[in-house]
């Protein structure tokens, strides 16, 4: 029974997905043909080249991105343990139970918390550090490196290091506090439900501040010296120059960084998984940890895929909304025509 079902589901979508490259070829062929009528042989050759170069990429995309997404949506309509045939069709029930689940709703709240506070904390901090590091001073290069090191570190390694640092009583943080006569929280930073999310946010800030600083520094290189000089000639103070010229010109960089930060926060998994596993008392679960727990720990693959589809939709809606409301100005300034083509 198993092999028959799999065989059938396996062959079905292939006919849906496969034509995509072919259709792409057709469109690509049409374009040069319209321009020069007498160069048919050349256009076919171009078409073949396009098929040859684009085909494999499209096939890979179809097999490793489109196909899994289609399968995930399919799984989300079944009660399924991860093995055996897909037979127990439950319709939208998995979605109902995910959306009705307190833990998932809390997880969504935690994601929003991380999204908002990551930006609120890292934006001013990153901007301040970038502006400082942009001034000519001794040790500028090594300071930049130090700020950027945490970002280069693997998230898992950073997580394990902080897990040890934040251990109650025997961890470095509590030992240092103890040395100056203070004491950490009774249950530890990661073990106290009210503090765990803040501790997580602290570690995430430490980890990702470097990226913000790096991007802002890169953006600062694009601020023309002439403008700064002109302002200085007009008698503007350093502070005024930053406020009136540098920061506004940094706008596009900041908006792009905020977008990256937001998407990263919505999908946050690694750091939570290592530091707290979603605990204590579900105080730090995110949508991603929820779906992994339901799937690989409890074998409720139907529920897990329903949660993953919801996570996908949330990320998609957030991304599109942000594109439309915020990024549109940047893209619009750069190339209004191209944007119409994209959006």
């Amino acid at each position: 029974v198993t092999s028959a079902t799999r065989g059938r589901t396996g062959s079905g979508p292939s006919s849906d997905v496969a034509p995509t490259p072919a259709a792409g070829v057709g469109r690509a062929l049409a374009r040069p043909a319209r321009g020069g009528g007498g160069r048919r042989a050349g256009s076919v050759r171009t078409g073949l080249e396009v098929a040859l170069f684009v085909g494999p990429a499209l096939v890979l995309f179809a097999v490793f991105v489109v196909w899994p997404v289609v399968r995930a949506v399919q799984f989300s309509f079944y009660r399924w343990k991860g093995f055996g045939p897909l037979v127990d069709f439950v319709g939208l029930q998995n979605y109902v139970s995910v959306l009705g689940n307190d833990v998932f709703r809390d997880a969504f709240g935690h994601n929003v918390f991380i999204v908002v506070l990551s930006i609120v904390v890292q934006l001013p901090l990153g901007l301040a550090i970038a502006l400082l590091l942009n001034r000519k001073m001794r040790g500028q290069g090594s300071l930049r490196t130090i700020i950027f090191v945490p970002y280069v570190l693997s998230e898992v390694i950073a997580g394990v290091v902080w897990l040890q640092l934040l251990q109650p009583r025997y961890g470095v943080v509590d030992s240092l506090l103890g040395a100056v006569g203070l004491s950490g929280p009774e249950q530890g930073w990661l073990g106290t439900p009210d503090l765990a999310l803040w501790a997580l946010l602290g570690v995430l800030t430490w980890k990702y501040l470097g990226l913000a600083v790096l991007l802002f520094l890169a953006g600062l290189q694009g601020v023309p010296d002439e403008l700064v000089e002109a302002a200085q000639l007009d008698g503007a103070s350093w502070w005024q120059v930053q406020r009136r010229i540098t920061v506004p010109l940094l706008g596009p960089t900041i908006r792009t960084w905020a977008f990256l930060s937001m998407i990263g926060s919505i999908q946050q998994f690694d750091m939570v998984w290592i530091l707290t596993g979603g605990g204590p008392a579900n105080a730090t679960t995110t949508m991603a940890t929820f779906l992994v727990t339901e799937g690989t720990k409890r074998y409720n693959y139907g529920i897990a895929t329903a949660a993953s589809v919801i996570l996908f939709v949330v990320a998609l809606v957030a991304a599109i909304t942000y594109q439309l409301l915020v990024l549109r100005r940047d893209v619009g300034e750069a190339d209004a025509g191209a944007r119409r083509g994209v959006v």
Binding site: T2, S3, R6, G7, G10, S11, S14, V17, A18, P19, T20, P21, A22, V25, G26, L29, V44, G47, L48, A51, G55, P56, L58, V59, A62, V63, W67, R79, K81, G82, F83, G84, P85, S97, V103, Q164, Q167, R169, Y170, G171, E186, Q187, G188, L190, G191, T192, P193, A196, T276, G277, G279, P280, A281, N282, T293, T296, K297, R298, Y299, N300
Partner: protein, 432 residues
């Protein structure tokens, strides 16, 4: 235009070929599970360190010598790796011929999906020898796997720290346990470590209290029907609340891991930071891996069973435990069944016990366990009127996971005994 079509056909063909290749990968569910050869057996086990690894290679070799023409392909894996690979194997349908089953709801799911062979008739003699131990691996009266190691959970403690606090007798009731904890605290020693961060070590407390509060019939009934309406489950939660309120646990226990690293619950016991920990029979081995000299607590380690609950309606000497069993996949060759029988023979089980690889289930091997702490544990297991399989395993990960979650919340003081029963029942009802 002809060439355009050729181009299209090429692209289409290429994509179809890739998809077809993927298709066959997952579609080969039944054909070649025996490796295309009826005399080759694939065997996955988790004894990936010596002496276990060498011993199992020896056992496989012996079986090959005794059965000419049969080849045993042995894969020794680290435990977590093996579980991940097994999950993938079940999903792909390409299950090894002989593999480990933990029993309970997980096994029931595999049986329902037609992945595991019914051994009731094929290994009738061995099943009789093993007696009550096989209960955890039976589904609707049929036996699907033969347990080779079954252990029980109890308190591991540091005799040196007990002595330092002036404690001479191990507690026999929960009240005594709490007063022992108080004595330790007064001596400046943290009494008990618990890896509530991983949830299941915390859940074991509730399981044991349910064992003390609920008569065996009620528990058997609950495993069968997933009905938790009996009052005794509520009382187990109330008893647990009493224990948590007395604060006998290590600082930061809510975020403490079970057995990874020196700051885990096992690590704290192994390094003399706490006096006791409630854990399974594998604890000495885990602790050896967590100390620099590789000895754990050495001679300072001892064991006592979970204490009795005054007025509990359950059996006060029943034990909570679980173990590992050899199962045969549905499409495995006949030789695989013979191999599993051989693994449970007096000879192999004695060798298994002599190397302290676990707690043998074949009574003929009971005398071969050398480690005194393990031998004492074996005695408790064999004297217990019954050994209840860990609830999360027995009920399956879905119900068990919801149960463990809520119990861990009780440790955090953010839920009630009523809610544990309620959430468990909800998850059970969702199973349908």
């Amino acid at each position: 235009m002809t060439r355009t079509r050729v181009a299209r056909a090429l692209a289409l063909g290429a994509s179809l070929a890739v998809l077809a290749a993927c298709g066959t990968g997952s579609a080969s569910t039944d054909g070649d599970t025996d490796g295309g050869d009826a005399s080759t057996i694939t065997w996955w086990h988790n004894s990936n360190t010596d002496p276990g690894k060498a011993y199992y290679d020896e056992v496989a070799q012996q079986f090959e010598d005794d059965n000419p023409g049969v080849t045993v392909e042995v894969s020794a894996m680290q435990h977590e790796d093996m579980l991940t690979k097994l999950d993938a194997a079940f999903q792909g349908g390409d299950v090894p011929d002989v593999y480990m089953e933990r029993g309970g709801g997980e096994l029931a799911d595999h049986v329902e999906a037609g992945l595991t062979k019914d051994l009731t008739e094929l290994a009738a003699d061995e099943i009789e020898t093993l007696g009550g131990s096989v209960a955890g691996w039976q589904v609707d009266g049929a036996t699907y796997a033969l347990p080779f190691s079954v252990g029980v959970v109890g308190f591991w403690y540091n005799t040196a720290l007990f002595e330092q606090a002036g404690i001479t007798e191990t507690p026999t009731t929960v009240e005594e346990l709490l007063s022992t904890a108080d004595t330790l605290k007064q001596a400046g020693i943290e009494p008990i470590s618990v890896g509530a961060g991983d949830k299941w070590p915390a859940a074991h407390y509730w399981y044991y209290l349910a064992l003390r509060q609920c008569p065996q019939e009620v528990l058997e009934d609950a495993v069968q029907t997933l009905d938790f309406s009996d009052e005794c489950f509520l009382r187990a939660g109330q008893d647990l609340e009493t224990i948590v309120d007395a604060q006998p646990f290590n600082q930061g226990f809510l975020a403490t891991a079970a057995q990874t690293g020196p700051t885990s619950a096992s690590g704290l016991l192994a390094t003399g930071k706490v006096a006791m920990e409630m854990q399974g029979h594998w604890e000495p081995g885990v602790m050896q891996g967590l100390t620099e000299d590789g000895t754990g607590l050495g001679d300072d380690l001892a064991w006592f069973p979970f204490p009795a609950v005054d007025g509990g309606e359950g059996d006060q000497t029943a034990a909570l435990g679980g173990g590992d069993a050899w199962a045969v996949s549905q499409d495995a060759p006949d030789a695989a069944v013979d191999f599993v029988k051989y693994l449970l023979s007096d000879e192999v089980q004695q060798g298994f016990a002599e190397r302290d690889m676990g707690l043998p289930t074949n009574p003929a091997a009971s005398g071969s366990v050398k480690d005194p702490a393990l031998a004492g544990l074996l005695e408790v297991r064999d004297d217990a009127p019954y050994v209840q399989l860990y609830f999360d395993t027995a009920f399956g990960q879905s119900v068990g996971g919801a149960m463990n979650d809520e119990i861990a919340l009780l440790f955090a003081g953010s839920t009630t005994p009523e809610a544990i029963v309620e959430k468990t029942q909800q998850a059970a009802d969702a199973e349908g």
